[in-house]
């Protein structure tokens, strides 16, 4: 294992975040605050409580989830797509590293950013509503696992994409709808029965639900099921990444 390589990749990626601190951190915090103001205040004045939790607090886990999923995907897809685009990937290919180091470096950095952003949003939310986290460690575990799996997903997207369009279209066309329909801003028990059933095919429902359980101990699906879904997604992504490096798919000719 080439630890110096992992550190080099990780350090460079984190430095990039610091360089673009406005884009990387201020932007998600600002947009989350806006969601908060609009959804929390406007809708919160109509819906006072869901499952015994004030609406303002109820949407906090969903907002964090939305932010870390989109941030993880965009950060890691960009991180690997950019060297492919400029050609600097030659160095990665000629370096004494296997996919293990490359993935730990890039995905680790992207996931770290997401966790930091998630924490910042949590702190920001604390300014607007009274938050009580029932299971902080479980919350942290979900935060980390989801950041890692979506960073892996972003990595796969970045390898697969052969143009900027593909890179941006997946988050917009797939992730955003799934997130909005995934109980971010409501409990799926509020939906008509048919839509409740349909929602169960949306993986994001499980992530948001498990994450919300860690805050309020109430959830749309059992927390163990949520956890299993997160792990399944993580394993699938890991396998795909392994396969990409094994076959050299779109990387080595």
């Amino acid at each position: 294992m080439n630890f110096h390589a992992i550190r080099a990749i990780y350090r460079t990626e984190m430095a990039r975040m610091m360089r673009t601190v406005v884009q990387s951190i201020v932007a998600p915090v600002l947009s989350t605050s806006l969601y908060f103001v609009v959804f929390g205040s406007a809708i919160g004045s109509r819906i006072t409580e869901i499952d015994g939790v004030g609406y303002g607090a109820f949407i906090v886990p969903g907002l964090i989830m939305l932010a870390i999923m989109t941030e993880s995907i965009s950060n890691s897809s960009f991180a690997i797509y950019f060297p492919k685009f400029t050609g600097t990937i030659f160095e990665l290919l000629s370096a004494p590293v296997s996919f293990v180091e490359v993935v730990i470096g890039y995905v680790g950095a992207a996931a770290s950013k997401s966790v930091v952003i998630g924490m910042i949003i949590l702190a920001t939310a604390g300014l607007f509503v009274d938050l009580h986290i029932a299971h902080p460690l479980v919350m942290l575990l979900f935060l980390v696992l989801i950041s890692v799996s979506f960073s892996l997903f972003g990595f796969i997207l970045g390898v697969w994409a052969d143009g900027w369009e593909k890179l941006t279209i997946v988050p917009v066309l797939v992730i955003m709808p799934l997130t909005f329909l995934g109980g971010t801003f409501y409990s799926i028990s509020m939906l008509p029965p048919v839509w409740q059933t349909i929602s169960l095919f949306n993986p994001v429902v499980y992530l948001v639900s498990g994450f919300r359980w860690a805050f309020f101990e109430n959830s749309d699906v059992a927390v163990a099921v949520s956890f299993a879904m997160v792990m399944a997604f993580l394993l699938v992504c890991l396998f795909v990444v392994y396969w990409i490096f094994k076959t050299g798919y779109k990387i080595r000719c």
């Binding site: 110096h4 600097t88 160095e91 000629s94």
Partner: protein, 307 residues
């Protein structure tokens, strides 16, 4: 001595196209090897396979005794590559990208070494500038620094002076000479013959994916090079006497210059006989000199012969 790089039976096909055909090549430790060939000959492909960027179709490559696929960590950590294209980071600085390269190739931080490398390529005062603000020549310097950041034992320079200014060329040669003195093996590809002629200890000529010849430079030039003897005549001659027909002499310079081509490989060059026949014919000369064909002429001859 065991060669530092050994390539045997190497083939590469892109779809139906065979880019490399059954390449056998040994690179000796500490030498400067010039890989010479026209555009599209397969030089970059060969280098990229050795470095692990391109997958080979068949054959083996060993670096310092290690197989470059099975023991890729061993082989790649010994190699530095300056690629032909100019891909560089844009927002990073020369210092940071060098530190990155060093780490990526498995070495701990060493600011003193990075400084040395940046200084040797006159980049030290630009070390904290964003790379995108640097000129093309500067960017190439950055790439060379990156390749040297992890103290490689082998350095590949793929077409290092294509489109490069004189100053950088000079800096680069100084760096190459210094590396060679410290025992680093340097392999450079080029289609500029003079580059190989100036620098290389040995030369391999590659064309249409095949290695045509590998030879020490001086021997290559001696063996394949034709020499010529030029005589400057005291008095102009308009027609040569028939006694000199066999020598296939060329008369030029308003009848004042006589050129004789000979082959250094033959037992007899025919020079002694020519001089006495000239004497017999009453042709006098007041100066003479010999010259040797350049690597360029040899190269063109080789490449054309194979087609």
């Amino acid at each position: 001595m065991q060669p530092i790089i050994s390539v045997s039976g190497l083939n590469k096909t892109y779809g139906d196209f065979q880019a490399l055909r059954n390449i056998d090549l040994q690179i000796n430790r500490g030498e400067i090897f010039g890989l010479l060939g026209p555009n599209g000959a397969g030089k970059t492909t060969l280098i990229n396979i050795i470095c692990g960027i391109v997958k080979k179709s068949s054959g083996t490559v060993t670096v310092d005794g290690f197989d470059n696929v099975e023991n890729f960590r061993e082989t790649r950590s010994r190699i530095g590559l300056v690629p032909q294209e100019l891909p560089t980071e844009t927002f990073e600085t020369p210092y940071d990208v060098c530190r990155f390269s060093r780490g990526l190739f498995g070495k701990p931080d060493n600011p003193a070494h990075i400084e040395k490398v940046l200084r040797s390529l006159s980049l030290w005062d630009k070390k904290n500038n964003k790379i995108m603000t640097l000129s093309g020549g500067m960017k190439r310097r950055v790439l060379i620094c990156k390749a040297l950041a992890h103290e490689p034992e082998i350095l590949f320079l793929d077409e290092p002076t294509a489109g490069v200014d004189v100053e950088l060329r000079q800096d680069m040669w100084n760096v190459v000479q210094a590396l060679r003195e410290s025992g680093v093996t340097v392999i450079l590809t080029t289609h500029y013959i003079e580059e190989a002629e100036q620098l290389a200890d040995r030369i391999g000529v590659i064309n249409h994916g095949e290695v045509i010849i590998v030879q020490e430079k001086t021997r290559l030039m001696k063996e394949l090079g034709k020499k010529q003897l030029v005589l400057h005549l005291s008095e102009s001659v308009s027609v040569l006497p028939s006694s000199l027909e066999n020598y296939q002499l060329e008369l030029g310079g308003d009848g004042l210059e006589l050129t004789y081509h000979y082959d250094t490989q033959r037992d007899r060059t025919g020079i002694t006989a020519l001089l006495s026949d000239l004497h017999a014919a009453g042709i006098k000369f007041n100066d003479l000199h010999t010259s040797q064909s350049s690597l360029e002429e040899i190269f063109v001859g080789l490449v054309n012969k194979k087609i």
